[in-house]
Symmetry: C2
Subunit: 256 residues, 2 copies
């Protein structure tokens, strides 16, 4: 059993009240793949980087048995870059800059041998690209999809088209309220289920996550953490772990 991951590979520059880092390997596809690799083997990655993507970033993924046949390397281009600054309340951050670089013209091409992958995790990228990926896949079993306020506000119509093609949507509480235009999370999940996905997972940071289906509401607490330095990639890692866990050998789809 494998899982296909599509998303960004990035070089992140991050400031928190506790320290800072420059050009650290990141991006949704990186975090999702790393987390999913604890549950499924192999993880198949589709993404794009520039000639400046560090060799140890590639090594990191290879060591986790991530199949990089779908990783496009544009030698003369530069990797997607994001910079952000977190506040003392690590739930709040400001984006300092976003340089799309090679990601601007990203047109995901699924390698032939990846197209029959049954389980798909679509990282938080343009819903048009998410749909392009799905249109190349042959009969997927389950599609997990992440999104964010940027696409909900800026590309709602495109996002709604994509939602019709997926099974599980993962988003955070404020994004769920925004997408559904409904402040109550349980009502919001119902509204979003009406848009397509039969299962909604609402992330609530330190308060854990809710899984909502037609029949059930399941609340999972967050692991208790006494020291938190940098939450970058936490949502992606959660999506990757969830996708990997769902798709792994120990869990049957009949259970959900």
């Amino acid at each position: 059993m494998s899982v296909l991951v599509v998303g960004s590979l990035a070089l992140d520059s991050i400031e928190t009240p506790f320290g800072s880092v420059k050009d650290a390997v990141g991006g949704s596809a990186t975090y999702i793949s790393a987390a999913a690799s604890y549950f499924v083997n192999p993880v198949r990655l589709v993404g794009v980087v520039g000639g400046d993507f560090p060799a140890d970033g590639v090594k990191f993924l290879e060591n986790r048995n991530v199949d990089l046949e779908g990783l496009e390397v544009i030698r003369e281009g530069k990797t997607f870059r994001w910079a952000g600054r977190y506040h003392y309340d690590l739930n709040e951050r400001d984006t300092l800059y976003t340089d799309l670089n090679v990601f601007e013209a990203f047109d995901p091409k699924i390698p032939e041998k990846f197209r029959k992958t049954r389980n798909i995790c679509l990282g938080n990228i343009d819903p048009v690209l998410q749909r392009k990926v799905l249109l190349q896949m042959e009969n997927p079993r389950i599609v997990v999809c992440d999104t964010m306020n940027y696409w909900i506000n800026g590309k709602r119509a495109e996002l709604e088209e994509t939602l019709k093609m997926i099974n599980i949507l993962i988003l955070n509480d404020s994004e769920a309220r925004l997408l559904a235009k409904e402040p109550n999370l349980f009502k919001a999940a119902k509204v979003i289920r009406g848009m397509g996905p039969s299962i909604i997972i609402i992330k609530k940071g330190e308060h854990g996550a809710l899984l909502v289906t037609e029949q059930i509401v399941f609340s999972a607490p967050a692991y208790p953490m006494e020291n938190i330095f940098d939450p970058t990639g936490a949502g992606d890692s959660f999506a990757g772990g969830s996708s990997g866990g769902l798709h792994g050998p120990r869990i049957s789809l009949r259970r959900i």
Copy 2:
């Protein structure tokens, strides 16, 4: 098995975005007793009301088998009154007025037949009064105590004395941070355990509650609610249900 409840009996006037009510029977002792009555029998109440406390408020408690021998009625006095207005976010409220009335001179006297009650739930009142209650009890088995920011800010030294005499402290997340002077809830719980109570229960509203002991952190989700009209008394009811549940016949102290 019975539980002794000490707290306020009040007439609450409440405005929410969804409606309003005037002089509704409320107060911490009322809510705690009603909730505890689902688990233990009888509940023993200690509190004070004025001659204006309505007969149906008394009836409400009697119907739940609450023993009112400890209810002092000051015929010529007026019952404690509180008025508040909730915002659209029901987690936020403004106090419009507080009239202590007969509560101002409240000096809890525990009836002789109540003094051997093994299980005690101290509602959210002045920590000096909470301690006066405990000093009249004979060898209690377990003492649950509620408090709030008003006492943490205004009577910290008195509260700290009371904390040395209790087993379980119930408070909400912002109160835990305030009392411990520590933003991380798990670290805050450790700090508060150092003040006396071996078990800390931190309420997080719609996000449920955390129980923290030396060995464990247990996270309980909140019951999923699609429509919320008025959260007044929710924390008191939670304290009453927890006290009753802990003290009921089905749960042994050895389990915690």
